[in-house]
């Protein structure tokens, strides 16, 4: 801002260079994507690759259109999105609540910490069969699966943030005779908004993993179901289309959280 006011020719040159570089990078980004799609399509058209095995962009598009027309794409994407968002919200809310509980009670934290670390290390997909038996094969099992994957890491990272609150600020609260609840509300939670948001960012990815994993194991609908089904009946078009849709949805959800992060950083900054 300051620089544009009294801008020397050298500085203008420098700014121009920066801008050109920026434009070049985004051009190359999109160019790469277009190139991959074009080469893929071309190789399929000239028969260098078997589009029955690899599918190709035009067939993906056709499948996409036909899935849209009969509305089944919206059903499947909707189911997956619902499962992901629900497990994401549950993981965030319960993860933060559990972290608050552990912050509040030292003994509880000391007792549970090793258990949490072991649970975190366990590959949660191994719990799949148990979850199916306990919760039943259905949406519930999928949500629990996604929850298992993201909950523990939320608890651990949020708790870590809580424990690292500036000691001086805690002393300040002590000097004001603040109760533990006041310390939580006025200091610990606001100081950890950035921590919680970065946990959200990790959770978005993990919840997608959990949901798709869950759908692989049990489901009659959803993008994960479409992928598995397409694979079983050798309809690679269906598999690829579902994967692309999944990719777009995950990116959109991540972008939402990133936007939230930007807003939160503006308000809460770094302590």
């Amino acid at each position: 801002m300051k620089n544009t006011l009294n801008c020397s020719p050298e500085h203008k040159k420098y700014l121009g260079k920066l801008k050109r570089k920026h434009i070049a990078v985004s051009a190359m980004r999109w160019g790469l994507l277009v190139l991959i799609i074009a080469v893929w399509e071309l190789l399929a058209r000239i028969g260098a690759i078997d589009s029955f095995i690899t599918s190709c962009p035009s067939r993906i598009w056709e499948t996409f259109i036909s899935l849209c027309e009969d509305g089944s794409l919206f059903t499947h994407a909707g189911v997956t999105l619902y499962e992901t968002v629900v497990s994401f919200l549950l993981a965030t809310v319960f993860g933060t609540l559990i972290a608050i509980g552990l912050w509040w009670c030292d003994t509880l934290r000391n007792v549970l910490e090793p258990h949490l670390v072991v649970l975190n290390a366990l590959p949660k997909i191994a719990l799949g069969p148990i979850i199916i038996i306990w919760v039943g094969a259905g949406t519930g099992a999928i949500i629990v699966m996604a929850l298992m994957i993201s909950l523990i890491i939320t608890v651990l990272s949020t708790l870590n943030g809580f424990m690292e609150v500036d000691k001086g600020k805690l002393t300040l609260m002590d000097t004001m005779n603040a109760t533990k609840f006041q310390k939580l509300v006025y200091l610990v939670l606001p100081a950890n908004v950035p921590t919680i948001i970065s946990a959200l960012k990790i959770n978005v990815g993990l919840c997608w993993v959990g949901t798709i994993m869950g759908e692989y194991l049990v489901s009659r609908a959803g993008l994960g179901y479409l992928i598995i089904y397409g694979g079983q009946v050798f309809r690679l078009d269906l598999v690829m289309t579902s994967t692309v849709v999944l990719c777009v949805l995950a990116a959109l959800m991540y972008a939402c959280v990133a936007l939230l992060e930007k807003l939160a950083y503006k308000k809460f900054g770094k302590a």
Partner: protein, 287 residues
């Protein structure tokens, strides 16, 4: 930035309050002196426990702080100066002895103490006015807003109410921290090396400001520092503590220069004499 001259003149008008500045130890147990005692430490001892050992940190400290007095505490680093403040404000319970505020057990008078720490500890997500009102909010004190805003205005921070702490200089932040402490109208201010984090230039100025603010608000204050010249430039009396376990080595009366502002005190011929006195007392390990 602040109106020291105004403050000082006001003080002079109030006349000589020599009585209130004299320690009851020296004034005898006259009734007048007794009434002037605001905070009394009676044989306060503290023992820490950790894995390796138990340590005697404070060894029967016994001194008074008079009403309206600015009492300094100096001592070698790690002797437990901060601990004394924590005990006065009942954050830590003494192992032995007791602290009386207005003759009542300090634990029942917790709310009359206002504590100012070495770092300003302003919350970066709150505006200056929200930061200043934090103590009042925590203590459920209603209607402090006008008073806090008046303090901000009075001490040259009125235009910064809606700014965030990151936008202020170190000296300004320190003044905000003091106003946050004052906003709950504490009778007793406990200052724990409040200028330690500032550079020397800013420090001289803020010492001047803070001294003027404390005197104009007529607070009783206990000021802990490791900086001898800072103690002499601000305090009415100075308690010199020994190395751990801390005992009271000497109480130095500065009433001869008490009318002077901090910077003027530094130029007083007595300054050097007091400095050497304290220095000697801090040096010889045994009496």
């Amino acid at each position: 930035m602040t109106d020291f001259n105004f403050v000082r003149e006001n003080e002079k008008k109030n006349g000589d309050r020599n009585d209130s500045l004299r320690s009851p130890h020296f004034a005898g147990k006259g009734e007048k002196a007794e009434n002037n005692v605001h905070v009394r430490l009676e044989n306060v001892s503290l023992t820490y426990h950790d894995k390796t050992a138990e340590t005697l940190a404070l060894n029967s400290l016994d001194f008074d702080v008079c009403r309206g007095e600015l009492l300094g505490i100096v001592g070698p680093s790690g002797c437990g100066k901060t601990t004394v403040l924590s005990i006065i404000s009942s954050i830590i319970k003494p192992s032995e002895g007791s602290v009386l505020i207005d003759g009542i057990n300090a634990e029942e008078r917790r709310n009359v103490c206002g504590y100012m720490l070495q770092r300003d500890e302003l919350f970066p997500w709150l505006t200056i006015s929200q930061n200043v009102l934090l103590g009042a909010k925590v203590k459920h004190m209603k209607g402090r807003k006008d008073y806090a805003y008046a303090l901000l205005d009075k001490y040259g921070l009125g235009d910064f109410k809606n700014r965030y702490p990151q936008q202020l200089s170190g000296g300004m932040r320190q003044r905000v921290a003091l106003i946050r402490t004052l906003a709950t109208s504490p009778e007793i201010l406990l200052l724990d090396e409040p200028f330690g984090a500032l550079d020397f230039q800013t420090r001289l100025r803020v010492v001047e400001d803070v001294h003027a603010i404390i005197k104009s608000e007529k607070k009783t204050a206990v000021f802990v520092t490791h900086d001898i010249s800072e103690a002499i430039s601000m305090c009415d009396r100075i308690v010199i503590l020994s190395a751990r376990p801390a005992t009271v080595k000497k109480i130095l009366d500065l009433s001869a220069i008490k009318e002077l502002a901090p910077l003027e005190r530094r130029e007083s011929p007595l300054f050097q004499k007091y400095f050497e006195d304290i220095w000697k007392n801090l040096q010889n390990k045994k009496d």
